[in-house]
Subunit: 378 residues, 2 copies
Amino acid sequence: MKFVIQRDRLVQSVQDVMKAITSRTTIPILTGIKIIATDEGVSLTGSDSDISIESFIPKEEDEDVIVDIKQPGSIVIQAKFFSEIVKKLPLETVEIEVIGSFQTVIRSGKSEFNLIGLDPDEYPHLPQIEDGKVFKVPTDLLKTMIRQTVFAVSTSETRPVLTGVNWQVGNNELICIATDSHRLALRKAAIETDSDAHYNVVIPGKSLSELSKILDDTTEPIEIVITENQVLFKAKHLLFFSRLLEGNYPDTSRLIPTDSKTAITLNAKEFLHVIDRASLLAREGRNNVVKLTTVGDDLIEISSNSPEIGKVIEQIKSQLIEGEELKISFSAKYMMDALKALEDTEIHVYFTGAMRPFVIRPIHNDSILQLILPVRTY
Amino acid sequence: MKFVIQRDRLVQSVQDVMKAITSRTTIPILTGIKIIATDEGVSLTGSDSDISIESFIPKEEDEDVIVDIKQPGSIVIQAKFFSEIVKKLPLETVEIEVIGSFQTVIRSGKSEFNLIGLDPDEYPHLPQIEDGKVFKVPTDLLKTMIRQTVFAVSTSETRPVLTGVNWQVGNNELICIATDSHRLALRKAAIETDSDAHYNVVIPGKSLSELSKILDDTTEPIEIVITENQVLFKAKHLLFFSRLLEGNYPDTSRLIPTDSKTAITLNAKEFLHVIDRASLLAREGRNNVVKLTTVGDDLIEISSNSPEIGKVIEQIKSQLIEGEELKISFSAKYMMDALKALEDTEIHVYFTGAMRPFVIRPIHNDSILQLILPVRTY
């Protein structure tokens, strides 16, 4: 194997596939990046066996030569050193050459590294996924849907299926749901699917977070292929494989209340700042809990009291308070996560009593819903 | 105590005095910030008993009202909460009021915090330093001198005096020296002193690092007062006290070789990049050591070899190599620290053999010197 490549492009691809590589793996070869040079270009692969990422660097793009392949071949190189080295090389181009028994020479200007590589034939094969049923989602929409749901997955392994996001695909709709059983985030969007494409799968939250970091903010569609135990995301020059979580995702539709006894209307960003301040003292104490109290027909009071530190009272105007008076306590962290997902919109919060889950929705948009369980404090 | 203050100014002062406060103190009241309101303005104090910082906010500045004092007084408030709160308050101004038994109310818009304060009379007094002998250094020069020496102090407590920077003042000159006994940094500068001002003191490296973070990059002079066991830095609206280290600082002048057997001339920044790359593989192994070899009369080779990972060879052109051929090994970290202190200048490196300390100096500037002890590798 021998090729000369533009350093910038190599650095970018290495950074992308590094997202799948962990030093804590039990399979030593997975600490490496697999490099394959063919007559079409160079592909890099990183994997932790749950997630696998393949980044392809074409020989030419827009009539620019990006890679000059002198001799096809393949090698596995320690990811940690390779990524540091390519970032710091002195010139715009890098020559990479394998010279017998997996020794790899990396040259750039007057800098020459000689790394001990690993046998590429021992690198695990990527999942084989047929290009059968594909559906497409604009990349920026996919990133938004991930961001608005993935924070709500469970971080505990007691119910592994809750560490993933439930994706329901069918009838030209994608619904993403995440819950850790204390709160729930739901986001849906119209997408193009084949009429017979119906899926109900659970994708690990970690996979979606990593995917989101790699994808550009573009409206270009990303292709998604779902099989029995894998999902594949195909973007330009990028393949992102993730295993699916096993087990049945709970039916969450019954959890979402359909009526309400108290409804308030607020600006999400303003409310976020109020909750943030009110929780400053509560963070020390038990569970970061704040209390919400309706005052008259247009004021909301948020308060918290930590006997050893002090107390705080915040007020925020509600455009309208409908229904019964209310006192309710909840986790400031869960509320802030939900409000961040809703961004700078006007929101309704629908309560059905101090001990029942409550729902937050944008006022002119039913594609997103956040649900939080209150905390019993008195 | 009651006053209304511009939030920005309060935030800035709180951030400054926080530099002296640690949560690991054994004196509970030092986890607080002392606030004193007088008819002239508001002063804040933070201290960990080694370092004390006082920041003063005047009532008015440039005809702008900054503080409106309603009632003078004082209080101590938990620094951690106070700093978080003032940063996040909603309005441009903040009202702070003590309402009996150290309860402190902080109001801004519809936000109201009620904190449990501490008795200001229990706060330790700042060192009493008479405004006797003062010398002045431009603030930006002081920051540069700190940056160019403080990294070389020892991080080990085996010889406590080496954790400080030795300051020698006299004959209109300030000399700063730091060494951890493996390398040494020296920087001197002409300053204005009284003819009878002679000092030889050791200032804790940590104090100088924190001071450097607080000071603005201005040419305004900072006043420095040295007593038997304290140093006081006086900038505009800021007092920074540090205790001095006890014990005699070693006489380092004998360590610095005056002759040389090999001299090379390089660009510091280019050399830094070469050393950085050459050390990428060495960081894993023993001590991060690289080898320097002269090649002919204008090439320097930097190499490192980590048997399990690989090896690297870098070359850099020297404008001139004078004297004997040389092979020498040294810590890449020490070399990089020294080169960063020298910034983007042309440098001479003077060697007196593979086992003797070597000296790095800018070619047209004898106010700064870096010395490094080599490592025996063969």
